[in-house]
Amino acid sequence: MTTVARKHQDVTVMAHLLRRTGFGATRDQIDQYVAKGYEETVEDLLNPVAARPEDQDLMDRYFIASVEARSVGHADPQWSWRLATTEKPLEEKIALFWHSLLAVGGIKLDHGLEMLTEIDLFRRLGLGSFRTLLLEISRNPGMMYWLDNQNSHKGAPNENYGRELLELFSMGIDELGEGAYSEDDVKAAARAFTGWASKPTPPPFFLGPFPMEFRFDETDHDNDDKLFLGETGNFDGGDIIDLIVTKRATARFIAMRLYLFFVSDSPDDAEIERLTDIFQKTDGDIRAILRSLFNSDHFKSESVRFRKVKSPAELVFGAARLTDRFVIPDMDSSTLANQAMFMGQHLLNPPGVEGWHEGEEWVDSGSLIERINFAASEVGRVDSAGIQRMIQLVENAGDDVRPESFVEACLDAMGSIDLGSGSKAVLVDHAAQNGPGTPGALDGAERIVEMFQLIVSTPDYQYC
């Protein structure tokens, strides 16, 4: 491989890593990371440190209605701001991952503050031990209320949490609805979680929401022996989780979901087996699994590049971040969450305990029009610093006026992205038909921006 080809390869793979671990990156950010090195970048991403002072005070000052947020509508400007500006992209990305997997329904909870608490929990624990995360989400007041554990009592257990814990959060079921556990295991788990509930605490503001906290009611807990997954004992919820996380079904379920979220919409059995082994060897250390995943040849290979449909959050914040225009938390940034909602992903309000159906199901005819129009308007913000730099990069690309080179220069400036050969050929054709010297042709920045807008309109751009 020549030096130029290797450099191109490094940039392409780095751009891929940054799309999957975050929301893509600008061209100059990619170069900075390439200079740092791939594995070093992976370590940085996996170990986010505060890159600047925490911005909670800033948000509280500008998003006044979102302080102690009552509803999801009050709360989502806060997450919008973080997604639009974070310098710790994997922290937000892993929060999105768990938000859809350990889904708490905003509609039933109707409590903005509690939903933000949920997301914070995923930021803090999402890259650590799965055991700890599962224990903490099981002690989370929002989750307890959402899945009816409030109504689960000694002698009259409510099975909702026990069932979803096994089916949707850990061991999973196959296509036929069969899991590596039985109905009796569901009942035993439900008994073990009796007495786990929540209580409201006094609100900081008059008429404000009541922050909730975990409460264990010993008198309402079933202290009899339970038979769970072949073991017998006086188990409580923590013991149930300890047993669950040692099972290969759990390791495989989480490995599969991580693969689908970070690598490709089509599972690769061999790679998922490999990740399952790592889960078991490391007692479910999510950071260790992701480290091995991102550093694998499989992840870096062309076969998985652009093989995952972008979620609305990935599309919205990926396009918005290109503009580099967010300085203070204002209306402009707070409404980004609405854009994702128009495309079918209402953040902080997953449609049900299954989270969102991801992959190709994200795209329907209504959402596709929203996706294209939004992304086209973002890359059309010629007054923003980010788009200015992109235009400059294309202009700097040199004197080569062939339409192929022009399209390639635009793709590179947008963060080293690529298109399939079919779409690219049509865009090259467009560049040729409407190139300099043709009647009514655009030139300079206008022509470049138009090509950016066409690129984000392709079906190929719907993938990351």
Binding site: E354, D364, D429
Partner: protein
Amino acid sequence: MANTSNGNGRKQKNLVVIQLSGGNDYLNTLVPYQDGLYYDFRPNMGLKGDDLIPVDDRLAFNSHMGTFKNLFDQDKMAVMMGIGYPEPNRSHFRSMDIWHTAEPFTTSAVGWLGKANSLLDPEGKNPITTVNFGRGLPRALAMQGVSVASVGALETYGLYTGLSGARNRDAMLDTVDRIYQPMAEGGFPSRRILETGRGALDGADLLREAPEAYSSDVEYPEDNPIAQSLKGIAQVMSADLGTRIYYAAHGSFDTHTAELVNHAVLWDQLSAAVQCFTDDLKQLGKSEETVIWMFSEFGRRIADNGAGTDHGSGGAAFVIGDSVKGGLYGEYPKLGLADQLEGDVRFNTDFRQIYATLLEDVLDVESEPVLKKKFDKIDLVRN
């Protein structure tokens, strides 16, 4: 594309949903003006005298509902009194969700009309079987695999319409059109995404052309958003594109304060809008086949709070059209303390009975797959 009759030889009907968002105050919509309890509980918000248009010796419409009183007098409006669902929820969010999914006891990602759409067009052949006026999809219309066009305004619907710059919009659209050509299975981008794009572009073309086919001398007020949405619906109807479900929202009815002013404005706007719309339907020859359904997520508290009313339960809903058997349905809830439900009126008609009626007698689809249960229909739609 329009198929004007179904297997039974009956004329095919269309459903127009008008959602009154925010919780419409039932008691000040249909007022029990001879009931002293009403005035006892509403010392500040009680309507009397010129604020009322009496229906009978018991009930009166709010005076800002002139159009609706006329429709009622012509037997074209069915008023569903005391409508609701068991174990009412007073959160806007959750209660609207219950009306959208027809699931009072569990949460669901499938909307009742999304499901109805999937029954009307099982293979997803027509991307505009349902047209929603407004951004983003109400959950009522949501279902994986069901395409719904969500339109701000017809004239500007489609790609790049709000884009500044885009001088070469036509050339850009030609290029995008060339890209979204479905190809063989197994390629990249996937056939499914390409076909979706094709449907979106074709649907947008159809909808954008609808205003051209439309001609009418009804003048919808410009500064009245619900009137503009209903005008868009009339335009799509006039183009006969096979659309069966139309959706629009009006509000906000969340009148915790300044209720007397705000509630009046909202009903004035709605009266003007529906007057234009029903006149227009007559001109377009669509009166017989169009049924309007108006609902709100809940009614409001019986007792006023001084300046307005708070969230309640139970309410009124309306079914309107030339093929509707007008009149009062259900019972007006009693206001006495013993009859109240935590300060609210008790419902006596489950809204899912109306859904069953609308599904079977308007959209001609089976109601059971949508509602998961058989509900008794209410005989209010003529064939």
